[in-house]
Symmetry: C2
Subunit: 489 residues, 2 copies
């Protein structure tokens, strides 16, 4: 066996074990008995221990020294193995253990602080988390930018400076567009009750329409919608709210974006380092494009209106146009996860700026709440009334996720680029969408992007799929066109 073959065989088994760990996470959120939580934590820790040992296996360094890739695909695989090995071995074991310990404690303290609306109760442990992650970033960066090293864990090749430039260009236009949308007359939200079983049946119909292969996946209910797994076993979850069917339907379409991406990766890459989505940002581009640019388009909403009438009868919305406007209703709020397509990125942009400042040391944890409230007031025009609606709303920082938030907006930005290219290549797309036929769009995405898995670096992948390098312009043009028309509509 050559060194390259040894690396690939090792990576394949690691991927298989990572799938097992992922399935255990799925099990925990869907079917696990309540009383099994403590034992499960120990089972998960044992799996993590096995995976960590494999990722820092001393043989990897030896093999990597002499490995020669036989072809371009092999070179990409080798790049991914090298990258993961570097990330796994640069962080001292005791630092990794300290981060695991502190973030486990921090999650509990965050939940308590949020319930009590008291940021000061969370600040001390958050300061520990920031300090340790900064240390980890420094170990990874080896003299380079600390935040970039953390970001690289979620979005290979991206830098804070690049993202900042694009996000800064987005912010003023989003703020202006938001203000205009909220100045326009407001539509009421959907009223009435929507039966759970009918929501789930329609969600499954949508999942199939968007190309989700239920022969290699399944849909279950969970508290939070998510997608998990790669290759031949990619599962999604959804939830129902009897007063808000859009929650179930659009979270299903969103998760199908993630899941179909994993299912559509070239099967020859299954259980290899490249046999999965290219990055968090590219993943989010798929889920958001499925959900928003396709799922909330005027043409598709026309078809969905008919499906909703079939499923729920007369639900108080008189026609397709009003339905489209209701689906895309812009409303005041505080919570990122409840934000509409227009305002979502404003939530993310502020988190990105704040966390970058936390990691660089430009912002102290004790000043974070004030900085949050100040920025929110500037971008949204009204004050945050309490910490649970502000700085304490997201779990991310408590679990040590720094460098993760920007991938949400980068995903939207990529979705904007892909959508523009898709429209250029498929001029009659709306004709298909109006019939509930997603196949031309999802097929284009599959062939242009999804099939390649992680063979290409994210920015290269988007550039190849679109024919032009990624920028914020297509997303902004799309949002301005759509929401200006809706506001004046």
């Amino acid at each position: 066996m050559t060194a390259f073959e040894a690396l690939m065989a090792h990576a394949r088994e690691t991927q298989a074990l990572a799938q097992v760990a992922g399935r255990l996470g799925w099990d925990q959120e869907t079917v696990m008995p309540r009383g099994a939580a403590e034992q499960r934590a120990e089972e998960m820790a044992a799996m993590e221990h096995v995976l960590h040992a494999r990722r820092t296996d001393p043989r990897l360094a030896e093999w990597l020294e002499t490995a020669r890739a036989p072809d371009a695909t092999g070179a990409a695989q080798l790049r991914l193995i090298r990258r993961e090995h570097a990330r796994a071995t640069r962080v001292p074991a005791d630092l990794a253990a300290a981060i695991a310990r502190v973030t486990s404690r921090a999650q509990g303290q965050w939940a308590e602080a949020r319930a009590a609306d008291d940021f000061t109760a969370f600040a001390p442990v958050l300061e520990e988390v920031v300090g340790l992650r900064r240390e980890e970033g420094a170990a990874l960066a080896r003299g380079g930018d600390v935040y970039d090293a953390l970001l690289d864990g979620y979005e290979p090749g991206a830098t804070g400076a690049q993202l900042s430039a694009m996000f800064e260009a987005m912010r003023p236009r989003l703020v202006a567009l938001r203000a205009a949308a909220l100045d326009a007359p407001q539509l009421p939200a959907l009223a009435g009750r929507f039966e759970d079983a009918a929501q789930l049946a329609l969600a499954e119909r949508l999942a199939r329409a968007f190309g989700y292969d239920l022969g290699r996946g399944r849909i279950d209910r969970a508290v939070h919608p998510f997608s998990s797994g790669s290759g031949a076993d990619v599962r999604i979850t959804t939830r129902t709210d009897p007063s808000d069917p859009f929650n179930c339907l659009y979270s299903t379409i969103h998760e199908v974006g993630h899941a179909a991406y994993e299912q559509n990766v070239d099967r020859a890459l299954a259980l290899t380092p490249a046999g999965q989505g290219a990055s968090m940002g590219v993943h989010e581009s798929q889920s958001r494009l499925y959900e928003n640019q396709l799922g909330r388009s005027r043409a598709f909403c026309g078809w969905l209106y008919g499906e909703m009438r079939d499923a729920f009868g007369d639900f108080g919305v008189p026609d397709e146009d009003r339905f489209y406007a209701t689906v895309n209703r812009v409303h005041r709020g505080f919570i990122r996860t409840e934000a509409d397509e227009l305002q979502y990125n404003l939530h993310v942009l502020m988190r990105f700026d704040l966390e970058r400042a936390l990691i660089s040391g430009g912002l102290a944890v004790r000043d974070l709440e004030a900085a949050w409230n100040d920025r929110f007031a500037r971008d949204f025009g009204y004050a945050v009334p309490r910490a649970s609606l502000g700085v304490l709303q997201d779990v991310h920082w408590s679990v040590g996720l720094f460098g993760y938030f920007p991938t949400y907006s980068l995903g939207n930005l990529y979705a904007g680029c892909l959508h523009a290219a898709l429209r250029r290549d498929l001029p009659d797309l709306d004709t298909h969408l109006a019939r509930g036929d997603l196949a031309p769009a999802t097929g284009w995405l599959r062939d242009r992007l999804q099939v390649h898995g992680a063979l290409l670096e994210p920015a290269d992948l988007i550039t190849r799929a679109c024919g032009v390098p990624p920028s914020e312009a297509p997303l902004l043009d799309y949002l301005e066109t759509k929401f200006t028309a809706l506001a004046t509509g």
Copy 2:
């Protein structure tokens, strides 16, 4: 850390990983998407690889050399660790790999041969399996009895000679009892249709009544009923047949016997070598006692009759006595898994004798079908019409399970002993059973036996629980009393 502590920490993580592998098996049989089978095989193989590496970890031998147990519980744990380590290290890796390869192939060939009713198509690969398992037994036995070494993998401490003596004492009495029962006038089987949902609801009610904790378990549907997991996450499956509710109800009670046993092991032993059932035989004693001595008793059938009427209305059985007789109906057949309480052991005893002869070389694989048919005719009084109803009916030998069959009858024998002791200690048991109150019986089993997990060797455990050493007499007395009364009605 002392050598003993190091061993226990290592064993704990191995147990946690074994639980994960078990959960993966559960997933495969219940919720896994069809298309995931191939990928899942690779995930399972990766888990097996990890577990095998842990079980043959060279550090274990070092630790075992110097480990000193701090107390009696520690001594039991050490005994179990030593035993597993010996079994794992005595078998050469290439032999283990050859067995895995051949049995994987043999399963497919068995299924094809069974479908074609052609034993000769299966014989060559079975000969390979027998040869390799014999080789494995010899490696384990180190000069001792080869079959005993295989048996020891399922039933520590048992020997073929001991079992043979008990089974030989059972056989003539079972043959005579069976003939008498079939000479008596025959009751018809249950007729009508029994709605799936009502079957499942009653099955869950029975599971709870028999002490299954659904806060640390769950019930799902699968093609074959089984129980899986230990400690805080022990799941069972069941199945429904609209024309035969007993299939669902009694398989549920049977699996609850296995599952409640695991749930009732002292929680302080969770994720340790002793934190699970003591052996296959002891496990089967619980499942059979729950199912038969309790679940098919006259007193309990009285209560169940009322439940069945509540669930299904008038289902054509006029009263409790007729219901009891229907539940315990003895009927001609060929298939072990469909056999009633009276005839079941005759099926197992012949498999035990045949497989012992195969392993010793006293019986050649090419002569197995003739030997099977001859023995069947002698014990059951009629001929096997085709191989799928005879020698090809069970999957066991194709997957290399030699030494496993006798644990079924040993379990019944143990159940007979435990039932006699239970009746001695709880003279008013029938009063409780007649109210559907299983708590006195399951509480007795929990405190006398289940709580100890694998701390004691199986035969010692039964002896302590019953106050006398195990023998076949109580089971035979019980069966003769019960089925003679039923036959004379």
